[in-house]
């Protein structure tokens, strides 16, 4: 074992630190090849195949590929193609990628762990034969390139007698030249990929980065500043750094949320946006105040159809040179322009190919589904095949002379309008990890048949004799909670909440755990569930089904009949659920006067206590907020929705919810006590008073005063705001209140002050998630913390480190938000499918009155839609007069207020294939020249079988 040292110097606050780290060089690192004849202490099965078939016309011999860093970084889509196998990823390359792009790093490591790809990581930096020392005057990049060439050279000689070649793939001209001069096999990735017999892979090539700007094309954009200049500017305060958020309504407008400041800066127009794509970290310069502007509330959709032909030469056409300086002074917001890009946050985008008139052309425009992303120019030879398909495209670059960013085709998802394809789009657009679980992940599942051992029994409390049952929505297969209640001899009750013991099966740090942590949550789409953990766990071993022995984590209380808690106990247990009930079944049992079996008694006891608990909670100021949840009835043949209903809430729903809240709070208290610094909790900040303005205004229009000074006051004043003739009024107020709320988030207790732990909505000083570990990763952490607290399981370093817990929380918060959005998008998708064949009149209520539109809530479907008052081209805008003060729209003698009942006609606007819209037209009140006549329901009267395929999960989550 040889030893050597590397020297790195770092600066920090004027202090110059010379950091010296040891670096040991070894001679025992295997080459990873089955073909190796040098017998280099490898494993039985090495990842690289003995004699892989060559598919390249450049060289017909068996070979391994060694890509350099930039090839991996930019051509990851090519490497992911199934035809690319037997690749050596050097440690030098892997380290650089780790630092430069987390997503690419993840994709590379996934390929390395896949047994199909035959990727191998060679630790060249630790090998005495391949380590190179940085030379004086050599840049770190040059050194790394040299290290890569050295490793390629070593492999060439090492495998000389093994009959396998190695070849370096690089796009760097210098690197290629040096490699060739050393007699190494080296090609550019372009030459290599083009030499393959598989021709479709060419489409996946990313564009070369530095295309020279030919003078024939005029420069459209200002140059981005260099990093040094940016940093200087930021320090001097001349520039600001932030994340750019393109407006959903108008792709030419954006807000930049300034880093470390609670400030938004507005950016308007293609020139000022200067090639920033949504989510990029950009640097902006504030414009002089005279040039400040404000968002045009006009909806500006990209106009298609006019100019496919001369897209090529299209510059910045006039529609985009914006309406400027007509902005009244009082509306002006701080406005800036993008001068540089700190970090691109490009991802892969779903969308469709814009049909081109010249079929034989290979350059095409791609229209992303996400409206905030610009069109992308790609090259493909398969435009015919991709015509009406949903495809995925990645951006490679955005040169100054191009109206659109340049990208490449990644893969095809399927036909537009096909439900599976659309679901896939939805998942991709919301960044929901949904690929099948990898081999590595599945390898950590328990081996079937799974049995309970003596050892297991010894470590758990046996609760199999108790009358435990679960109550869930119909069709639920991932049952993560069950309950029981029994009378004690002293007149008190013993209540138990039993939660699936997922952390027993998912051990910290392994691939299964990492995958679950990354997914963060199970995502429920209307007709599909994307599990956080593999099916074997979610629907079988962890699911607390009736009639089988299951492991649980139990919270047991002794309660008085007044629901006062005498004692709380936590234990790992083994249970045998007596019944898996639906809410309706449980309700029937409770209500059935003839039933008096133990299970029913148990349910009644629970119900009784839950009511008291709920009252206590509401008295305490907890909010009961409304949101509408929809349930689709789906045709069993076509999987198309037949009918929609809002979900019905029964007493039993609330019963289960009460005990879940109680368990969560109990666990939160316990783990915080044991781990004051690193408990994973959930908080719901109290909203700033200004958030309530729309609510107060709306309620005032009906003569109600809403007290927002405290949660309790709010709850009370909401209770009082009832209009007898409009029973839906109160619900609407509650819906509006929900919109005023802040997002509830996970956090690590050590990162905040205890006063900030508050959960506003539930009016509890502390809260966590414990009760759904099958579908939420937060709960798994809570389980682990609790298990350590009671000595039932071991801790591990990451669990005890608050920064690690917090970064986990950040991911969970992100995943939860995306899961919610995806869920909503899925409901929309199904709504569209439902109305595809229908035009229907429905009763609705005005939820908001806006300058150019009415926001309508349709209680029957729990839908919200917009009636545009100045509809496409029709010059009807003059018909309505908007009164900002009163918040009304008046046309002739009809005045529309908030909460007014209306009748609207629902249909689907199919003018844009990617964005089918639910279109609402006003039927009543009748406004001549605007409203439409009522129609008979033309929907085909299909047999409305409630197939109950809904996978939408039960309770709402606070």
């Amino acid at each position: 074992m040889l030893t050597n040292k590397i020297f790195i110097k770092k600066t920090r606050l004027g202090g110059v630190m010379k950091i010296v780290r040891e670096h040991y060089l070894r001679d025992d690192i295997s080459c990873g090849s089955m073909a190796c004849v040098k017998n280099c202490q490898g494993l039985e099965r090495e990842p690289l195949e003995e004699s892989p078939d060559s598919d390249s016309s450049l060289l017909r011999k068996s070979h391994y590929i060694i890509p350099d860093t930039n090839v991996v970084l930019h051509q990851i889509d090519v490497l992911e193609d199934p035809s690319i196998k037997n690749v050596i990823i050097l440690q030098t390359v892997l380290d650089e990628i780790r630092h430069r792009s987390a997503p690419v790093y993840k994709r590379v490591t996934e390929m390395i762990s896949s047994s199909q790809k035959h990727f191998y990581t060679y630790c060249n930096e630790f090998n005495m034969n391949t380590y190179v020392e940085r030379k004086p005057g050599e840049s770190a990049n040059d050194r790394n390139d040299r290290a890569i060439r050295k490793a390629v050279g070593w492999y060439s000689s090492h495998l000389k007698d093994a009959g396998v070649l190695v070849l370096l793939l690089t796009n760097d001209v210098e690197n290629l030249k040096y490699a060739l001069s050393k007699n190494l096999n080296a090609y550019t990735i372009y030459d290599y990929v083009k030499s393959l017999s598989n021709k479709t892979i060419v489409d996946r090539l990313a564009n070369p980065l530095n295309q020279s700007i030919s003078d024939k094309n005029k420069v459209l954009f200002a140059e981005h500043l260099g990093m040094a200049e940016i940093q200087k500017g930021i320090r001097s305060g001349k520039y600001l750094q932030g994340t750019i958020l393109i407006s959903r309504e108008n792709y030419l407008e954006a807000n930049v949320s300034i880093r470390d400041k609670d400030q938004m800066v507005f950016v308007q127009g293609l020139q000022n946006l200067n090639r920033a794509v949504n989510d990029d970290v950009v640097v902006i310069e504030i414009l002089p105040e005279s040039e400040w502007s404000c968002p045009s509330s006009m909806v500006l959709a990209e106009d298609e159809g006019k100019d496919e032909e001369d897209e090529e030469n299209r510059g910045l056409n006039d529609s985009e040179k914006l309406i400027q300086n007509k902005v009244p002074r009082e509306l002006r917001q701080p406005t800036g322009r993008v001068v540089g890009i700190v970090k691109r946050n490009w991802r892969q985008y779903c969308g469709i190919l814009q049909p081109s008139i010249l079929k034989e052309r290979t350059r095409h425009l791609f229209i992303p589904a996400e409206k905030r992303i610009p069109k992308i120019r790609i090259e493909t030879r398969q435009s015919d095949a991709l015509a009406s398909k949903r495809i995925i495209v990645a951006i490679d670059s955005w040169p100054r002379n191009s109206r659109y960013p340049l990208g490449h085709f990644v893969r095809c998802l399927g036909g537009v309008g096909d439900k599976d394809t659309e679901n896939e789009v939805l998942l991709l657009e919301h960044d929901v990890p949904h690929s099948n679980f990898s081999e590595a992940v599945l390898s950590f599942l328990p081996k079937m048949p799974w049995t309970i051992t003596e050892e297991d029994l010894k470590r758990r409390r046996d609760l199999r004799h108790l009358d435990i049952c679960s109550v869930d929505p119909p069709g639920c297969t991932d049952i993560d909670d069950a309950l029981h209640c029994r009378s004690l001899s002293n007149g008190n009750f013993e209540v138990g909440v039993h939660i699936a013991d997922v952390s027993h099966f998912i051990r910290p740090g392994n691939a299964l755990d990492q995958e679950a942590a990354n997914r963060g949550t199970t995502v429920y789409l209307t007709d599909k569930r994307i599990d956080m953990v593999p099916d074997l766990l979610s629907s079988n071993l962890c699911s607390l089904r009736s009639g089988v022995n299951r492991f649980a984590f139990s919270v047991l209380w002794e309660m008085t009949p007044q629901a006062d808690i005498i004692s709380t106990d936590f234990t790992k247990s083994i249970i045998d659920s007596k019944a898996s009930l639906t809410y309706a079944e449980a309700q029937l049992k409770i209500d059935d006067p003839n039933a008096s079996d133990n299970l029913t008694k148990s349910l009644r006891g629970l119900n009784h206590l839950a009511k008291i608990l709920k009252k206590k909670r509401l008295d305490n100021g907890a909010l009961s907020l409304a949101s509408t949840e929809v349930r689709f009835f789906v045709d069993s043949e076509t999987n198309d929705p037949i009918d929609v209903q809002t979900k019905e809430l029964r007493e039993t729903n609330s019963m289960v919810e009460e005990f879940m809240l109680l368990a969560n709070i109990a666990v939160a208290e316990k783990i915080l006590k044991e781990f004051p610094d690193n408990a994973l909790l959930r908080r719901h900040p109290s909203p700033p008073v200004s958030n309530f303005d729309p609510l107060i205004k709306a309620a005032a229009s009906k003569g109600f005063k809403i007290d927002v000074s405290s949660g309790k006051g709010l709850a009370d004043s909401l209770d009082k705001a009832v209009v007898p003739e409009n029973p839906y009024f109160n619900t609407m107020l509650r819906i509006m209140t929900t919109r005023c709320m802040m997002q509830a988030v996970y956090f690590c207790s050590g990162m905040l002050q205890p006063m900030d732990y508050l959960h506003y909505g539930l009016a509890t000083p502390i809260y966590t998630h414990f009760t759904s570990p099958i579908r939420r990763y937060s709960d798994i952490i809570a389980h682990r913390l609790l298990a350590v607290s009671i000595g039932a399981d071991a801790s591990y370093p990451e669990l005890l480190e608050k920064t690690k817990i917090q970064s986990l929380c950040n991911n969970l918060n992100y995943r939860h938000k995306m899961a919610q959005y995806a869920g909503r998008a899925s409901v929309n998708l199904h709504t569209h499918l439902f109305f595809k064949t229908r035009v229907q009149d429905e009763q609705g209520h005005v939820l908001f009155v806006r300058k150019n539109a009415l926001q309508i809530l349709i209680p029957k479907y729990g839908l919200e839609g917009t009636v545009f008052l100045n509809d496409e081209g029709q010059k009807t805008s003059s018909l309505f007069v908007y009164d900002e003060e009163m918040n009304t729209q008046t046309a002739g003698n009809v005045t529309i207020h908030v909460f007014d009942p209306v009748i609207v006609q629902l249909s689907i606007d199919r003018s844009n294939v990617q964005h089918m819209k639910l279109s609402l037209k006003l039927v009543k009140p009748e406004i001549p020249g605007f409203s439409v006549p009522s129609v008979k329901d033309t929907s085909t009267l299909s047999t409305q079988e409630p197939v109950g395929k809904s996978a939408q999960k039960k309770r709402k989550m606070m």
């Binding site: 110097k9 600066t11 110059v16 200087k232």
Partner: protein, 288 residues
């Protein structure tokens, strides 16, 4: 300083031998004992050196730091000496036991280096009036075998020779001037140490003047003069120590003797340092 118990006859013997230009170890009056110099052995410092002069052992490490300039001297960099007497040398240094000696030595060093030509102080200034380098010259005294001042000063000069100051790029903008320290370990500048002084201590033993006195000889000496001497023979500092008194004539003789020794010493040191630098092996340090 370490106690040396010397009997009266021993003292007399030493005194008389020196009188005859015969020192106890056979050296002449202007001869140094065996000395070993090694640089660069503490890798996390910007410059380091170890000097072993007979059994006197000194280790010096220099760390650099960016700092605002002294407003009174806006065009120059700064150096700061710190000396720690390790208890490894003698139990008497335990705790704060070595602090008296330490401040004596650092004071002498500071005085020797306060001469403007000692090192190129202006090259240590990055931005006149604003930023300069501060060199922390930290000295660790590991074993005391006589003639500490000289040994320390030699080690300091060697460490300064070894010092590699990272290059700094300056970029101007309206918010002021930004300094960026190079992260390339090969991108550094060296300090010109040709003007740096070494300390030469001349002990008066009887009527003779001897340099590089051993501990025993030091015990026999009643007065000594310490001088900072550069390669050119310039005297940058002077200090008399000891209970005895000296007449002006012997002082000028002692200065003369110190100059001769100092010039030679500086030359030898520089040669050794250059030779050593040409070697490729990593430093052996205490493993020798």
């Amino acid at each position: 300083m370490a106690d040396v118990d010397l009997s009266e006859p021993e003292k007399v013997y030493i005194l008389h031998s020196v009188q005859e230009n015969l020192r106890e170890d056979g050296r002449g009056c202007e001869d140094f004992r065996h000395m070993e110099v090694e640089t660069g052995l503490i890798s996390n410092t910007n410059g380091s050196a170890r000097v072993r002069l007979a059994s006197t052992d000194v280790l010096v490490g220099i760390k650099v730091q960016l700092t605002p300039v002294d407003p009174k001297k806006p065009n120059v960099g700064r150096i700061e000496f710190f000396l720690d007497c390790s208890a490894n040398a003698t139990p008497a240094f335990e705790g704060r036991g070595g602090e008296g000696l330490a401040s004596e030595i650092t004071a002498m060093l500071t005085r020797s280096y306060s001469c403007f030509s000692a090192i190129d102080y202006t090259s240590l200034c990055l931005l006149p009036g604003q930023q300069c380098w501060l060199l922390y010259i930290d000295i660790l005294l590991l074993e005391c075998g006589g003639n500490l001042f000289d040994a320390v000063s030699i080690a300091v000069k060697a460490a300064l020779f070894n010092l590699r100051i990272p290059n700094v790029t300056m970029t101007k903008d309206e918010g002021g001037i930004e300094l960026d320290v190079s992260d390339d370990p090969f991108d550094f500048k060296r300090l010109d140490v040709s003007g740096a002084p070494v300390i030469v201590t001349v002990n008066k033993i009887g009527h003779q003047h001897v340099v590089d006195a051993s501990e025993k000889e030091e015990a026999c000496s009643l007065a000594k003069v310490m001088l900072g001497i550069t390669e050119k023979g310039t005297v940058t500092a002077m200090k008399k120590e000891g209970s005895g008194s000296l007449d002006s004539e012997s002082i000028s003789e002692m200065i003369e003797s110190a100059k001769n020794v100092g010039i030679e010493l500086n030359k030898c040191l520089l040669n050794i340092l250059k030779e050593e630098e040409a070697k490729i092996e990593e430093p052996v340090g205490f493993l020798r």
